[in-house]
Amino acid sequence: MIAAARCLLRRDLLLALRRPSDVGTALLFFVIVASLFPLGIGAEPNLLRSIAPGVIWVAALLSSMLSLSRLFAADHADGTLEQMLLGVSPLGVIAAAKVLAHWLVSGLPLVAIAPLIALQYDLPAALYGTLALSLLLGTPVLSLIGAIGAALTLGLRGGGVLLSLLVLPLYVPVLIIGAGSVDMASAGLAPDGQLMLLAALLVVAAVFAPLAIAAALRISTE
């Protein structure tokens, strides 16, 4: 069971490595979206500083959603997914491994590049830690919830737009708590409570989302 998960994780990461442009696009999208905001609303430093956590989080949300439709699409198209469904290892474990791979190539780079955006927005350096930690805890939740939507919309016409309609409302608590933690830290308060709430969301999502993803995959492929 663990071996199957590890094998799948290795395979997905290898596939992503062989096609670095896919990973790069989502990351570039994150940077571009975040860079558009100052152009739209003006470069007033105080304003930028106050909207930075929200903008970074929204950009992370959109960027992680963009790559979701690819999560199961290729495996579905070439029949690999059906083999996984028929295989002996539990589908929940397979789903969890695929989500982990997705997060490693689309979520983790966001965490690494977020301080750069924070620099653009003149966010005090003391907040980088909170920002990175909140993204580190929050982006896996986004991948887990998003994978449910990706599995449900597998092979549907207009899947991409539909996926955003399904998934974005469910992202809202993560956005509120994630951006809220950075806001709290910038107000000089301890963000521990918000970060713990994020961690709690992560634990709950990590336990239940793989089951939901597995159920959704079964529904979509039967």
Binding site: L156, G159, L166, A212
Partner: protein, 230 residues
């Protein structure tokens, strides 16, 4: 067991028809009574003036919007677990009514907010969660509409409804979680309500009317779905 006898769409069809008819009549009568109490009997509010009278529609619609999502998720879960055709049909029949009430709650809330708060829309936690609830309803309906195979549509929608139902308690507890602008609940089961009894009567009458309307509308819709599919 009579209950399971009615679980079949064929036998449920005539029953749904008569229940829907009686509930529609009851809803009309109760709404007339509730609106009369609300507009002519209930006293003017000391702080909010006449503008508060929108609550007779607003509060009942907001209650129904949240309740209907739970009911929808319940039927969706039953349908997913026991593979009963009628449960899934009930879930898809409830969604438009729920979306309607969510929209009415948001709309009347905006009309109430303008004279009272000075703005049609504020980013208060409750308003925001109600808006998200509307998106959840719309997402549910969009997903079902995008899938041609009714069986897959039912099951996919059911899973989405169950995932989304996590949002309903967040709406309910949002007032306690984020301390914001929306006034706390004035009606609770554990203590005396902080409003005049005629206001409460009007509100409860409207709530009952909306209950009966929801039953009537969703049963009428489920009859259409049964006819379409069977």
């Amino acid at each position: 067991m009579r209950w399971f006898w009615f679980a079949s769409p064929q036998t449920f069809f005539p029953l749904a028809g008569s229940i829907a008819r009686w509930c529609a009549v009851g809803a009309a009568l109760l709404a007339a009574a509730g609106l009369y109490v609300g507009f002519f009997v209930a006293p003017t509010d000391a702080q909010q003036g006449e503008a508060y009278r929108i609550i007779f529609i607003h509060v009942a619609a907001a209650w129904m919007s949240m309740l209907l999502y739970v009911v929808m998720a319940f039927w969706a879960a039953i349908g997913l677990a026991f593979n009963t055709r009628l449960s899934a049909m009930m879930a898809s029949a409830l969604a438009p009514t729920g979306a309607l009430f969510t929209f009415i709650a948001l709309w009347t809330g905006a009309l109430w907010g303008r004279p009272t708060w000075g703005a049609y829309w504020v980013w208060d936690a409750r308003l925001t969660s109600e808006l998200i609830l509307l998106f959840l309803y719309l997402g549910f309906m969009a997903l079902q509409a995008a899938i041609d195979d009714p069986r897959r549509a039912d099951r996919a929608g059911a899973l989405l409804a169950i995932v989304g139902v996590v949002n309903v308690p967040i709406i309910y507890y949002s007032v306690q979680w984020w301390n914001t602008l929306h006034q706390g609940a004035s009606v609770s089961l554990t203590r005396a309500p902080s409003m005049a009894s005629t206001m409460l009567t009007g509100m409860l009458l409207m709530a009952l009317a909306f209950w009966l309307y929801s039953i009537a509308a969703s049963l009428a819709r489920v009859r259409c779905i049964i006819k379409e599919r069977e």
